[in-house]
């Protein structure tokens, strides 16, 4: 059957492009990870880094790499993966590139909860994560409830979300000002996201969330690709639309909130990962793995630039913010030209 051969050829070609894209992103991630471990005040050669990783004692490097740089790398990569998947899931599900959890205020809500818990209440990392998750989900529910009904739910959801996000950022500023005005790095973390001072023992909740939630989202990504065609088409294709949507939203909100509770709401990583991934691997496939890789690469690259690119070290969120903001403006202009709905 020659028609089937042609279909197969096209599909294989797109699959190959996708595989090459994913491999390239994975390779970039490895290079960036190596950079994260090698670079710093003291530059260690790769073999010293490898020896530290496999557990050998290397004077100097064992502390610097093992205690400072590995946690920073792990936090950055995990947060990037979580933000990337959360963002692309939201964007695909709500069929709008503006609808990522960092644009519509969900990570700001989680951040406000985290700063309240850590800086004001002095709760533990686990309790902080739980509170961030609860407030993140609450924020999502509030935005959804406020936006639902009538025409143009999508456009209204985004506008309300941006408003809620601004409000939550004000809460963060208020709490930080009250409690930690002497500590710029704490303030920066909860306002824009930062990897400074992350310890390995803080990463437990985020690591567990990634291990549990990423496979769930991957399994559900088949349903997600049907949901992308609209609720009616997804129903016709046999997807249990409400169940799939709730599971996907909860998983994505949870990923974003766990990451936020650990590193702060690293600006625009969730927002940028999906669209960049689609450029690299092409449209049509599952967005989960490419978006996760792009998210991790973005965070690590931005952190390297922030640490070493300027005379002053900047936290990672400042750099991603500088990159993400123009794209946000571009999308807002395009959306308002198209009539603001959809």
């Amino acid at each position: 059957m020659s028609g089937a051969t042609a279909v197969r050829t096209g599909r294989t070609r797109r699959a190959r492009r996708r595989r090459i894209g994913i491999a390239a992103l994975a390779a970039l991630l490895v290079v960036l990870a190596a950079g994260m471990l090698m670079l710093g005040k003291t530059v260690y050669p790769i073999d010293d880094v490898v020896r530290v990783i496999i557990g050998q004692d290397v004077p100097g490097a064992s502390f610097t790499v093992g205690t400072l740089r590995i946690p920073r790398l792990a936090a950055g990569a995990l947060a990037g993966i979580a933000f990337g998947i959360a963002g692309s899931t939201f964007q695909t599900l709500l069929r709008n590139p503006l609808a990522s959890p960092d644009v519509i205020g969900i990570t700001s809500g989680a951040s406000a909860a985290a700063v309240l818990s850590l800086v004001v209440l002095h709760w533990s990392a686990a309790a902080t994560t739980a509170l961030a998750l609860a407030v993140g989900i609450l924020t999502a529910v509030v935005i959804y409830a406020a936006a639902r009904g009538g025409e143009s739910t999508g456009g209204r959801l985004i506008l309300i979300g941006i408003g809620v996000g601004a409000m939550m950022n004000a809460v963060v500023q208020f709490l930080v000002q009250r409690a930690a005005e002497w500590d710029v790095s704490v303030a920066m973390r909860w306002l824009t996201g930062s990897l400074n001072g992350v310890r390995l023992e803080d990463l437990g909740p985020l690591a567990i969330a990634a291990v549990v939630l990423v496979p769930i989202v991957m399994v559900l990504s088949r349903d997600l690709r049907a949901l992308e065609l609209g609720d009616a088409s997804a129903t016709a294709l046999g997807v249990r639309v409400d169940r799939a949507r709730v599971l996907l939203i909860v998983a994505a909100v949870a990923l974003a909130c766990f990451a936020t509770a650990t590193t702060g709401p690293i600006a625009f990583v969730a927002f940028l990962s999906g669209p960049i991934a689609a450029r690299i691997v092409g449209a049509g496939g599952s967005p989960v793995i490419p978006a996760a890789l792009v998210g991790a690469c973005l965070v690590l690259l931005a952190d390297l630039v922030g640490q070493f690119g300027f005379d002053t070290a900047f936290p990672v969120g400042v750099i991603t913010g500088i990159v993400g903001a123009p794209y946000l403006i571009f999308l807002l202009i395009r959306t308002s030209r198209l009539g603001g709905s959809s």
Binding site: V7, R11, R14, G230, A232, A236, G238, G282
Partner: protein, 271 residues
């Protein structure tokens, strides 16, 4: 494939937020035939189709497939028999035509079973039937409205269901493309025996292409049957509130509705 599956409505009511739009409808879609639901705007024809395809729940009565209420059939299993082309499906940006058509294979695939040769065959077959094989690798965004509608029909075909419902498949298309789409659906019905039911706006195209017409007003079915039995001046007046003559379509010999209107009516022609 044969049109052996029977989809029916049994005293079916449904609507939106407490407002009844479809009110106690009984109908049986003749298996292996083309049924068309017609009626004025807001008569409930789209809502009826949506309830038959489980997009909105019945508030009373039931949509029944082969004797079983569709709400009792697991949605994925139902998707193997009952297909639907909604009025405004959404195409993901930049997706290739054959990938989009391939999404129709969703109900045939299991969680960990990857794409198979059977899926490729189904997609190729659907592209061929709809005459868009040469567009397979194009991005959907580059296509015209008529071509896009063929892609969506191809996706529904790839799903391989014996019953296919379509909600105004000719909206937004110019007349030539409307005829093209309806011809295509007739081909499908004849070659595969697919039971087709659709909502159409244009009473004349409906009368030409339907084996069986359902005429609706205010949530009720006023008349049903073969177009030549159903389409009469009295019914057109009742359904559309339109004064019209019905003549024989010179091409298809099906009923052709000629609206009278207030202007441009020359004297001495009234029936």
């Amino acid at each position: 494939m044969t049109g052996s599956h029977v989809l029916e409505a049994r005293s079916l009511s449904s609507g939106y937020s407490g407002r009844t739009v479809v009110d106690g409808v009984d109908l049986v879609l003749p298996p292996g035939r083309i049924s068309v639901i017609v009626g004025a705007n807001a008569c409930g024809k789209s809502t009826l189709l949506k309830t038959l395809s489980r997009l909105i729940p019945a508030t009373d009565g039931a949509a029944v497939l082969d004797g079983k209420a569709i709400t009792q059939i697991p949605t994925k299993k139902l998707a193997l028999t009952l297909g639907l082309l909604p009025q405004q499906p959404i195409a993901p940006e930049g997706i290739a035509v054959s990938d989009l058509v391939g999404r129709g294979r969703h109900p045939h695939q299991k969680m960990f079973r990857s794409w198979t040769a059977e899926d490729d065959d189904a997609v190729a077959d659907a592209l061929e039937t709809t005459g868009i094989s040469e567009l397979a690798d194009r991005a959907i965004d580059e296509l015209s409205g008529g071509q896009r509608q063929r892609v969506w029909i191809a996706m529904a075909l790839a799903q391989g269901t014996d019953v296919l419902l379509l909600d105004e498949p000719t909206t937004f298309l110019d007349l030539a493309h409307q005829v093209e789409v309806l011809d295509l659906l007739t081909d499908l019905n004849r070659s595969r025996g697919t039971t087709i039911a659709m909502v159409l706006h244009d009473i004349n195209l409906a009368a030409r292409y339907a084996d069986h017409l359902f005429a609706m007003r205010d949530g009720h079915i006023l008349a049903s049957g073969a177009p030549q039995d159903v389409v009469t001046p009295a019914l057109i007046d009742e359904v559309f509130g339109l004064d019209a003559e019905v003549i024989s379509d010179p091409v298809s010999h099906t009923p052709l509705v000629i609206p009278r209107g207030r202007h441009h009516v020359s004297g001495g022609q009234s029936a």
